[in-house]
Symmetry: C2
Subunit: 347 residues, 2 copies
Amino acid sequence: MSGLPPTVAWSDDGRAVRIVDQRRLPAELAFLDLRTVDEVVNAIRTLAVRGAPAIGVAGAMGLAVALREREAGFAAHFEAAATAIARARPTAVNLPWAIARMRAAVASRLGEPASALRLLHDEAERIRAEDEAMCLAIGTHGLALLRDGMTLLTHCNAGALATAGIGTALAPVHLAARRGWRLHVYADETRPLLQGARLTMWELLHAGVQATLITDNMAAATLRDRGIEAVLVGADRICANGDVVNKVGTYGVALAAHAHGVPVYVLAPSSTVDPATARGADVHIEQRDGAEVTMPLGAAAAPAGAQAYNPAFDWTPARLVSAIVTDRGVHRPPYDFSRGVVATSST
Amino acid sequence: MSGLPPTVAWSDDGRAVRIVDQRRLPAELAFLDLRTVDEVVNAIRTLAVRGAPAIGVAGAMGLAVALREREAGFAAHFEAAATAIARARPTAVNLPWAIARMRAAVASRLGEPASALRLLHDEAERIRAEDEAMCLAIGTHGLALLRDGMTLLTHCNAGALATAGIGTALAPVHLAARRGWRLHVYADETRPLLQGARLTMWELLHAGVQATLITDNMAAATLRDRGIEAVLVGADRICANGDVVNKVGTYGVALAAHAHGVPVYVLAPSSTVDPATARGADVHIEQRDGAEVTMPLGAAAAPAGAQAYNPAFDWTPARLVSAIVTDRGVHRPPYDFSRGVVATSST
């Protein structure tokens, strides 16, 4: 990834978590060093770090650094910090999951601060490294579906900026770029929060990948008229039957891709697969504040008093998904994740 | 249309063209009285008045009022004014068409200013009244496709604000509202220029129609999950085979509607039908400045240097269009407009 710094990393002296401050993208690339619980919670809450995997990693690493020099009353400090960080964004599953791993790692050593700190650091580093490895595995499996010179389309940001590695949907794009492949990626801007315009475009430009921004409503005509050969998207949840819950707009893109015979590839960690949810229609879709719709980038577009509908996600039926790529391999239809993810041979 | 003023009208004293200043919508309803050629040209150029039918009407009426008290050298004044107004937005077909009608109306009377002024006023009023009647005819034919209590979806603004009457796609909605029908219209915001958020939402709220704004990428899930029973859109050009060129995003909405068995109705003046264009793929699609995509409402969303693709229109194949409604009636597939529009019995 020429020019693309890690989204979450240890600072040079190892005493802070250094994150890319995504609130300042795409205007400028700025870093934020997090040293205290308040700084960690604030960074997560204000979306300085976002993307479920990245939040989990930042929370775990933040917990490890924030407890330095807290030897007196260590167990109480740990409890307060772990609780505060786990609650920074209650809807992100990865965050409480990562903090639970941190709790388990030091459960028996809370009376020995020096030893506990070492264990916390090691567990946070494992979580970070696993995320990085997970991205690499997704990218490696996904790369087998692509070839040099392809034109692709993506939605939202399931990239390096959402993980501690090279991303999920964009992982094979980053690997391809490292190999010198010339890809061209059309990026949906992804209203209402414009993650495609703000983050995916920034990430691809900094990785040296040719990228072209479109508004979401141009996706159908772009799929037909601009030679798109594959759609790459991430997932927030994958149901037992292969239905995919992802950022709102994914469904419309999948319908249009299907109409033109363009394969839709969903790339996500195997932890995204939820065997307990039978199908997409069973998933409760989070409704967000209508102001995100009526006020793009904070400026009023609609008249005062205008009502808006603002589902954060939609679900795409498995029949529109050509392959699901996880760190365990490339999964092809008919999908059956009712007993979890079974590793596959690639392609 | 409770509360909805005419988009283009004569002022009370008949000496000016009074338009709704659409640059100030949706923040406030303000009117602009146009009395001179410069004022007319400026209003058209700066989008104070927009929508092909409304521009044609405003141009013709503007030409009639701007020549008052210009008796000395009338023919030269007329020539200069007609040329300037016809060129105010060269890509809008209705504008040169309306000015050509005005030319024909006074061609033999340019030496008699008083008589010419009367003829110009009468021809402009005919153009205005024909537009109003055209909208009413479209609305009446379209109303036969709807029923009380329906939930609809529309894209862009093909409403009263785009015509001198009650609009095209929204004409049956306005007629239904006058009858006391309770409709619920979901409006796509319609990036990049947000005509749905700014204009359709304003127009529907002022007409007392229940309206809900969505981002364009929510259309597919909304069509599936929110009980949409019909899609109403306008058209910029209708090809001989029934393919429809309209605001970008129409194609994706039509694909999603088709996938869910929701009828797609295209409502437009019969003058929109172009027998000389065989099919949608033959139409040259206007590409606009990428800054409209990278800078929503003028604020930077994408990183500096980001490339954007910005087609103003897309085309929807006739097979996705359930009916085409013109002032001549409801036209059903298979479409054949190769010899123009033949009047139909309604429904």
